[in-house]
């Protein structure tokens, strides 16, 4: 009985009917494990580990420089930039805004740097459902290639205070 203390030896042989399940379950677990390294080798979607320490001031300066160089307009008071795929792209999150708006080209590959000026934010590309964390003090570099065109939005999906649900940015792909 499961609630009785046990006298004597309970280390006994396992019945074959149980062994079948143990073996198959173990095999499935190894497959589960193998999928992750395999996807790193062959798959197209993997979390990056290109990360640098930064500060709000350092990162803001990079965003400002890029906006100066690549600004093509403004939407709702937020600069719109059309960056060259050869240079690094910067986007910052702060209470409660993503800036700048990006204009990207389908099929081109960009190095997108993300950082936060204040609290922790969540970068959620909507409605595609591609999610990464944006932390203050960290410059996270995602190497992304848009494979679909249209209007996409950056929804903040980590709670960041009372205006959290208003924090939406934009990415245009043509």
């Amino acid at each position: 009985m499961s609630i009785q203390t046990l006298k004597g030896v309970w280390w006994k042989k396992v019945d074959p009917s149980e062994k079948v399940w143990l073996g198959i379950a173990l095999l499935w677990c190894l497959i589960l494990f193998a999928m992750m390294p395999l996807w790193h080798l062959k798959g197209g979607q993997n979390p990056s580990f290109e990360t640098y320490r930064t500060t709000a001031a350092m990162f803001q300066a990079k965003v400002d420089a890029l906006v100066q160089k690549a600004k093509v307009g403004e939407e709702k008071g937020i600069p719109v930039i059309a960056p060259d795929p050869k240079e690094d792209v910067y986007m910052l999150g702060r209470l409660w805004q993503w800036s700048p708006v990006l204009k990207l080209k389908k099929g081109q590959t960009y190095r997108l740097h993300l950082s936060s000026m204040d609290l922790v934010h969540g970068f959620s590309l909507f409605p595609l459902n591609l999610n990464f964390m944006v932390l203050p003090g960290y410059d996270y570099v995602l190497t992304i290639t848009p494979t679909t065109s249209g209007e996409f939005y950056v929804v903040c999906n980590e709670f960041c205070g009372i205006g959290h649900h208003t924090m939406v940015g934009k990415i245009l792909v043509e």
């Binding site: 149980e18 992750m36 390294p37 459902n129 190497t143 939005y153 929804v155 999906n157």
Partner: protein, 555 residues
Amino acid sequence: MAAVFRTCAHTGLKVHNQAERLIKVHAVAGVLSILFGGIAALLVLLTRWPAVHLLDPTNYYRALTFHGMNMLIFWIIFFEIAILYFAGPILLGSRVAWPRIGWVGFALMAAGSILIDVAILQGGADVMFTSYVPMRAVSHFYLGWILFAVGALLGVCNFFATLVVARAERTYEGSISLVTFGGATAAIIALVTLAHGAIIYIPTWLWSMGYVQNIDAGMYRLVFWGLGHPSQQINVTAMVAVWYLLATLTVGAIPVNEKVCRTAFLLYILFINLASAHHLLVDPQLSPAWKVWNTSYGMYLAVLASMVHGMTVPASVEVAQRRKGLSKGLFEWLAKAPWGNPSFAALVLSITLFGFMGGITGVTFGAEQVNIISHNTLRIPGHFHSTVVAGTTLAFMGLTYYVVPLIWRRAVVWPRLATFQAYAFGLGIMIFAGGMTTAGSYAVPRRHWDVQFANSIFQPPVEPAAYLFLGVMGIGGLLAVLGGALYVVITVVSVFFGKRIPDVAGAVPLAAVPQDTGKHTPISGTLVLVFVFLAAFIIYYFLNWKWLSDIWLVK
């Protein structure tokens, strides 16, 4: 202080009166917490249901913080400590090693939870239960965490001390029972958890008062989840121990093979805590090697353990039933099971929903890359409401219907309503979590007041299907809230007004344990069920990789 014992007429167990009292106070505090958390659940539910959208933003975020704390931390941990006082002293027929420490621990936990609840209701801690720095709450919120964690730690240490005392005083011979072993596993996991809690909350508390300048956001997330996730693993482990216990109480089940069951618990001890990494898979501060190794619990060995328990528990039920003569075909043992017993209903729903919904979604979303299409969407609360709510909470509810007669020695009032309660809660959470998880696959964020983004500068178009599934979530949630409310009412009324149960054998109906025939009893029904489970697992898992491959390229 000489220990005072009574012998339970129904189970023959020797019960130390201090153990019994400590169980009672912890259980009461737990039920109070689920009451508070449940009220907040209703408010939050009605806000996330777009057709209702009840609260304003401030109150929604406040209620959500309150719900997370009272449910995940207070209800679950109070109840777990109660289980440790049962699995330790009572199952070993021993005295509680340190009764006074037990009371001090309880007082600290109670004080901590009150401080936290007050801080939240004052509006001083709208930070969610994760309180990611540099978001700041009032300092007594962090102090409350520290008190609660230290109190729980004392309860856990008391359990270990009781193991030592029981052995030294020879209250038993041989090995501790399987349920006690499961309790010990939970207690080991709890020590790791609470230690991380102390490491992170002491500096954060000092920071909240200005004595520490800066806490790194990435470091906080790493250490916080060393607390936050393992506390869920205590749940899982305690829940599995309760499964074994309920299987014994409801149908007289005997573990089919102690070696297999205990080895599965050992895999939990060694590996389950690595899975704290689930929360950090799309964070900047950790490498893929760290992520892959930790998120997979070191090659999924803790998942293997859960798959083993998911087989051994039903198998033990099957064997017991077959030995009672219900051995026709594959499933007579299951068809003729005591479905009207609320605890049995809770057991079956808990195993099924935990496995098919919570387990499958958890392992899938916890794959490093699949997390890209799951992180911080409603898929995540959808997943954990099927583990910690449909799994753990329901199992604890089922156990309550034995705690009341055996510990309070009162009959459960309205037993048929109790049966309805278990089904309503289980099915409600099933519908609720199914709706929530599916809505999340349309990228609907969690912890978010406004599904439509009506107040933001841009209005992203939301899939109409997402609204449909949020409606499903709402309806299922209402049924679950009804089930939860009935649980609190039945429990409270029984404890105060239930008929007193006389101390004579048989007054509490416990299932007889069938004789071991010495022959092997087949478990073919269980094997069919677990292979159905595996098929569902495989399909859902690879579907998600397919969905992942449809998004942009990223590396």
